[in-house]
Symmetry: D2
Subunit: 165 residues, 4 copies
């Protein structure tokens, strides 16, 4: 069942690391290679990191770039690591451009480098989902698998829920 | 897509914790509730912990008990946390008894409580797989999804591989 | 050599925790009880948490309150967990008020709850220093022990250094 | 107050790491360089690792080697990372050979690489103690500072206590 995957990192809380000098969470190199190594994953994963930003500040142009990256991906199964705040908006843009690939967006409410993070769990959810789902655009958060057009972030509770309750 | 799940913990490396007095890894209460809380999972999960043993010492009778627990489960989607050494044997026993439910076995090569563990990633893989797969018995390890009858542990490398290369 | 200690927490990076909903590091209950438990410390420690703030925003009045807390402490050996940015200023205020007690200020450049934190190491340094030093006001950071009047933060490198190079 | 230090690692629980293939805690390269880096220590530390063993299996000859290493140390302030089970025996051997240096032994009840470890705290305690104490042989465990001849491990509680209650 295993195929080559592409993982596109765009920043977001998932990959934030603490900068001790500036005293804030920021972006450095992606931690995906380390996470996949700890996971003992034997999948062939192609990593691509076009962006490292907070998704609150993502422009429509940048969402277009991510969709382009999906279109150009040699692999038909793609995971996108994305900030949670506008994950659903980016999913929608991708869905309008990419129809023949399985794309799963995920992210984290707590950065990987912090105690009690949901990042690795969410990545695991995405890894299985992207291998099992038919072409389309999906989100895996809160342990669930959502279609791109039936998902929203409940910002007050820090979870993702279906639009139709 | 979300349904109620059952998670059956049986011990194994996944759930081992360090006993500072005895200086060894051993079993205490399962860490699943804490892991699911960190994961921000909104799934309804029924936890059941009939066993807390090293799978090397699991008897055929105990494998039968796990299969029984699957048969009696009110939930049709079941994850089993299991030691890696005989995960495939237990999967086989379950497959011979349980035909109308989706059962996914997973575990860990490094305990959850240790740095660099694969436990949470593997659980995430199982959580998506159990929601997406048709009835049958599966194993999610090494980032892959295996059918119970096409999976073995490569003990020298600490990964799971298909039987047919 | 062991006596009762008082630990006064005032906030600072040491005790910051991630708020997943707000997406930022903030203050919740102090993590000192958990840290001392993991440390297997058998010292009798009296914890007091008058403040939970970023030391950049600490007022002179608040520094006075901390000095008051030292004066009123029943224990003669006191550790103060403090933000690094104005640790030296608070040390100076305490030194002008408290002369018959051993007071050691420490903190962290990276919060306890983050990977690669210096918090627990710094606390260990303070715990020994407060037990061994004569009355006076000191700072333990960067593995070193400074007198309050010969210490400054090198903000560009995130370390503490003596004023007289 | 800062001088050059020597840290001599001998193994023990402090430095144990999990071997996922063998499923047990074992010794690999010492984690001291990483720990000191996270600690943001600016001390000049000379690391020496003559042994990597469980202290239960330490021979009198090996204790002699550690004492020799102390005698030959160019630095007058030495920390020894040691298993807890026979830390007091090694301290005694060193005390009989080394009289003009400050030697502090420490270790851990829970390995550094495990959640809830006491290793970093104990190292911090040793770092301050070795800088502040007069020549002699000491142990820092359980947050306390012991003279070598007034210290024993309470194996049932996993703490160190004075011999004279």
């Amino acid at each position: 069942m295993a195929q080559d995957l592409r993982i596109i990192t765009t920043g977001g809380t998932f990959d934030k690391q603490y900068d001790a000098i500036r005293g804030e969470l920021t972006f450095r190199e992606s931690q995906l290679p380390r996470i996949l190594s700890h996971a003992r994953s034997t999948l062939t994963v192609h990593l691509e990191g076009p962006l490292a930003i907070d998704s609150l500040y993502m422009t429509e142009e940048q969402r277009g770039e991510i969709a382009e990256a999906c279109l150009h991906s040699a692999e038909g199964r793609i995971i996108i690591i994305h900030g949670t705040d506008t994950m659903c908006e980016t999913a929608k843009v991708i869905a309008h451009h990419v129809t023949d690939k399985t794309v799963v967006l995920t992210g984290a409410m707590t950065p990987y480098s912090l105690e009690g993070s949901d990042a690795v769990f969410n990545l695991g959810c995405a890894i299985s989902a992207v291998q099992l789902l038919d072409p389309g655009v999906y989100i895996t958060m809160s342990g669930r698998i959502f279609s791109w057009d039936n998902c929203k972030k409940d910002t007050s509770r820090g979870i993702f829920v279906p639009i139709e309750g």
